[in-house]
């Protein structure tokens, strides 16, 4: 059986109200009746039942969500990575109350608005309408099946509508779910984008982080500057950390073993053992700087253990300090190792 939608236009509130009453008397249910107007009219004026909406519920649910979010932010998050500021406890009452107030209110507003959209059936674009309604006419619309059509039309005519429109009701899909889903997906997408930025997955090059690249030279980083021309060595005992660098370890088997391992890790990148060996990879990067001396070269053999220790600690010429890499005892291990080397035949 076909369903019909009728829209009668009335000039004033009185006749519209009477028409509503007449329609109810011929058996139109209150649910299928709608009164359209350009400004709000109370249900009593129109002789309609009070409409019990559930906006308060929606707003309340939103408020609860906001409250929960506020508690999470104010109570839980400080515990996740506890940082003490100003000698205060991690959990503070007054700031918590402020946060609870703001977020609860935000939740109420959003809940109320979403409830309004949902219960009002927004967005919708169906149903008969007449542009004259926006100009102050009142529309009384009903949705009836064929059986009641004649009676309803008669009831309309009795109150002399300015215009009466009729149309067959076509099933309209409820788009609220679709649009709601799209909205939630869009919201999630924005969230994920933000998370991708905040987790540095999506690295935005145009967000400068000037402090990542430092202009200072950390240990072993920068170009070592040679001693200025005319510089002379300072005679006397070399000092390391204010103490003379003379506390060599005994050349035990243990010490030599450790020294060999540490030499491979820390020294062999630049220094060869034998002069005949090919230039090391690192040294080949700096052809202009001259080769780092081989450990069994006459130049190195002429050094005292204390001098070698000082070179490792403070660096010399282009060689950086290795003090950060090796503890003093380990440096002596390396010195022992270097002293134990003999030139190849």
């Amino acid at each position: 059986m076909a369903e019909y939608e009728l829209l009668g236009l009335f000039q004033d509130v009185d006749s519209a109200g009477d028409a509503v009453e007449a329609l109810r008397q011929v058996g139109v249910s209150d649910r299928s009746l709608r009164v359209l107007s350009a400004f709000p009219l109370s249900s009593k004026i129109l002789g309609r039942k009070h409409y019990n909406h559930k906006l308060g519920l929606a707003a309340g649910a939103g408020a609860l969500l906001g409250f929960a979010a506020a508690i999470f932010f104010a109570v839980i998050t400080p515990q996740l990575y506890p940082i003490v500021v100003g000698g205060r406890p991690l959990l503070n009452g007054p700031p918590m109350l402020i946060l609870v107030f703001e977020l609860t209110m935000l939740g109420t507003l959003l809940g109320g608005f979403l409830g309004f959209l949902w219960q009002g059936g927004f967005p919708s674009a169906g149903g008969l309408y007449d542009k004259r309604i926006a100009e102050g006419y009142l529309g009384v619309a009903v949705q009836v099946d064929e059986a009641l059509l004649e009676k309803v039309q008669a009831a309309y005519s009795a109150h002399k509508p300015v215009d009466l429109k009729k149309a067959e009701v076509k099933p309209r899909p409820d788009r609220r779910l679709l649009i709601g889903t799209i909205a939630i997906v869009a919201l999630l997408a924005v969230n994920f984008a933000l998370l991708a930025v905040s987790f540095d997955i999506l690295h935005l090059e145009f967000l400068p982080d000037q402090m990542k690249a430092q202009i200072s030279f950390a240990s072993q980083m920068g170009p070592r500057l040679g001693a200025p021309a005319g510089a002379v060595p300072v005679p006397g005992v070399a000092l390391v950390g204010g103490r003379p660098a003379t506390a060599p370890l005994a050349m035990t088997e243990d010490s030599l073993q450790r020294g060999a391992i540490l030499f491979d890790i820390h020294c062999a990148v630049c220094h060869t053992v034998d002069e005949d060996e090919p230039v090391t990879q690192v040294a080949s990067f700096f052809p202009d700087d001259g080769e780092p001396p081989a450990m069994t070269s006459a130049r190195v053999m002429a050094r005292t253990p204390e001098q070698i220790f000082t070179f490792i600690t403070d660096g010399i010429g282009k060689m950086p300090s290795l003090a950060e890499n090796l503890y003093p005892a380990n440096r002596w291990d390396v010195v022992n190792d270097v002293r134990s080397l003999t030139p190849a035949e």
């Binding site: 359209l36 109320g112 219960q119 967005p123 933000l194 967000l207």
Partner: protein, 484 residues
């Protein structure tokens, strides 16, 4: 299709004598709600205002847009170079950016207050001006929202203040007043935008019906969400508006209180004061109502909305302004009396600076703008009903209130505890950016009036429906019926 019928049921009895005729005409001339011309004529007038921007107005809009872009360029420079071109120094770390934030949030107060509080209290004056006021809120908040970001040293890291999980495993510090500020402003912006949108729905539907098929109609169709004006929709509309009104009033108070707490939470002399919360709220309403008066003057003059925005509305707003000026004077006096009587050296330094020192010209100018001009003039009915003079007074109050914030932030900050650190603030790049921000607000206000009916005709229509004339004895009086 025109509707000539008088649709107001209580208006139907025609005046009997000439004297009565005169009384009726007088009442109708004075009161918008007693002067119905029918919804159609009103709709036409309200929508027509969208095309009533004259050549001069458009030139003004272009100039304002240019100034706003100039501020944008200024900010770009600042982004790449740092804050060095500002007048901030090693004592005064907050300057005109924060002043602008406070000022624009203050402006943003009145719109929502007029709309929400007047609605809750049933003040009928709100009907034609609520939308205009809310729009002031909208764009003032947009400008205000920019300034905390412009103010930052590394604005590209602003998302570190948002509480989301991140690779640094660090959540924002909710003990910081700035974080409260972020939450409060966010709530207020969301609330204000939704509030203005809800009120706009029926008018967007009306605009949709009255526009021929073009892009405008598509825009209005999409924005009006298929609003039909059924009784259920209206009931929901009424309820959601009421919920919003009741929620947004405390939120509004909280926002400016928290803005004031940005200052009051510190131990800077002159800032550390419990009175700052209410004092800032009153100041915000004061400057905000004045800003709404400026906007009303603009609309009446440039968009020729004389039918809707009448002298009675200016009168009511001017009275409100007068009350706010009394309240503001009271708070300011209280603040200074306590300082003076307490006689604490760091505080007295500031008081001396303001009253007789380097800042005295600014301070006395502020007193002139905020006290002498409004209190001296607004008690006169003729002034209150003259939009031109009110416009000038309102501009004076804007200057005064801007100066007040300037003195609090830019000047007081230059007097910390140790005299070695005393300093004075000479703004630099902030000035073009501030000018740009003002232009930004006015520019978007005008642009908004091009696309959206700035008068809420359904509210006015409802008001006219509820108001009527009645003869009591020999006099025709107005009365209001209660619909609920």
């Amino acid at each position: 299709m025109s509707i000539e019928t008088e649709r107001n049921p209580w208006m139907s009895a025609p005046p009997e004598s000439e004297d009565e005729q005169e009384q009726v005409e007088h009442l109708r001339k004075d009161h918008l709600l007693l002067d119905p011309v029918g919804m159609e004529a009103m709709n036409q007038d309200a929508l027509g205002s969208m095309t009533r921007h004259g050549r001069w107005t458009w030139m003004l809009i272009v100039v304002l847009g240019g100034l706003a872009m100039m501020a944008g360029v200024g900010w770009l420079v600042q982004l790449f170079v740092g804050l060095g071109f500002t007048g901030l120094n090693r004592t005064i770390f907050w300057g005109m950016y924060i002043i602008n934030l406070v000022y624009f949030i203050g402006i943003g107060h009145a719109g929502t207050f007029i709309s929400a509080a007047f609605r809750v209290m049933g003040f009928e004056t709100r009907r034609p001006i609520a939308r205009a006021a809310e729009t002031v809120t909208l764009f003032a908040l947009a400008a205000a929202g920019l300034f905390p970001i412009i103010h930052l040293g590394r604005p590209w890291k602003v998302y570190w203040m948002i509480p989301i999980p991140n690779q640094r495993q660090l959540w924002p510090n909710f003990q910081s007043a700035l974080e409260w500020d972020a939450m409060a402003i966010m709530t207020y912006v969301v609330g204000s935008v939704l509030f203005i949108y809800i009120g706009l729905l029926p008018d967007l539907a009306m605009a949709r019906e009255r526009t021929g098929v073009n892009w405008r109609r598509r825009l209005y169709s999409a924005l009006s969400l298929g609003w039909r004006g059924t009784d259920r929709q209206w009931a929901l509309h009424e309820s959601v508006s009421t919920i919003f009104a009741y929620v947004i009033i405390p939120v509004m108070f909280s926002v400016h209180t928290i803005v004031s707490w940005d200052f009051a939470m510190t131990i800077q002399p002159g800032w550390h004061s419990t009175i700052f919360g209410p004092f800032f709220i009153v100041g915000a309403l004061y400057s905000g109502v004045a800003a709404v008066l400026v906007a009303m003057g603009f609309l009446r003059r440039f968009l020729k909305l004389g039918y809707f925005i009448r002298e009675e509305h200016f009168d009511v707003m001017a009275k409100f302004l007068l009350i706010m000026s009394f309240a503001w004077i009271y708070f300011y006096f209280g603040e200074f009396l306590v300082t003076w009587y307490g006689n604490l050296p760091p505080e007295m330094t500031i008081l001396d600076l303001l009253l007789y020192g380097e800042a005295a010209p600014l301070w006395w100018l502020m007193i002139f703008c905020n006290v002498v001009v409004p209190v001296g003039l607004l008690w006169m009915r003729r002034v209150r009903r003259n939009p031109g003079i009110l416009f000038v007074i309102a501009v004076f109050i804007q200057v005064g209130m801007y100066l007040e914030r300037y003195l609090i932030v830019g000047v007081m900050l230059g007097r910390p505890e140790l005299p070695f650190n005393y300093s004075w603030y000479y703004p630099g790049l902030e000035i073009p950016i501030a000018i740009g921000a003002f232009s930004f607000v006015i520019f978007f206000y005008f642009i908004f009036t091009v696309f959206v009916p700035i008068i809420s005709t359904w509210e006015v229509g409802e008001g006219q429906f509820l108001h009527g004339l009645r003869k009591i004895g020999r006099k025709i009086t107005k009365f209001k019926s209660d619909m609920h």
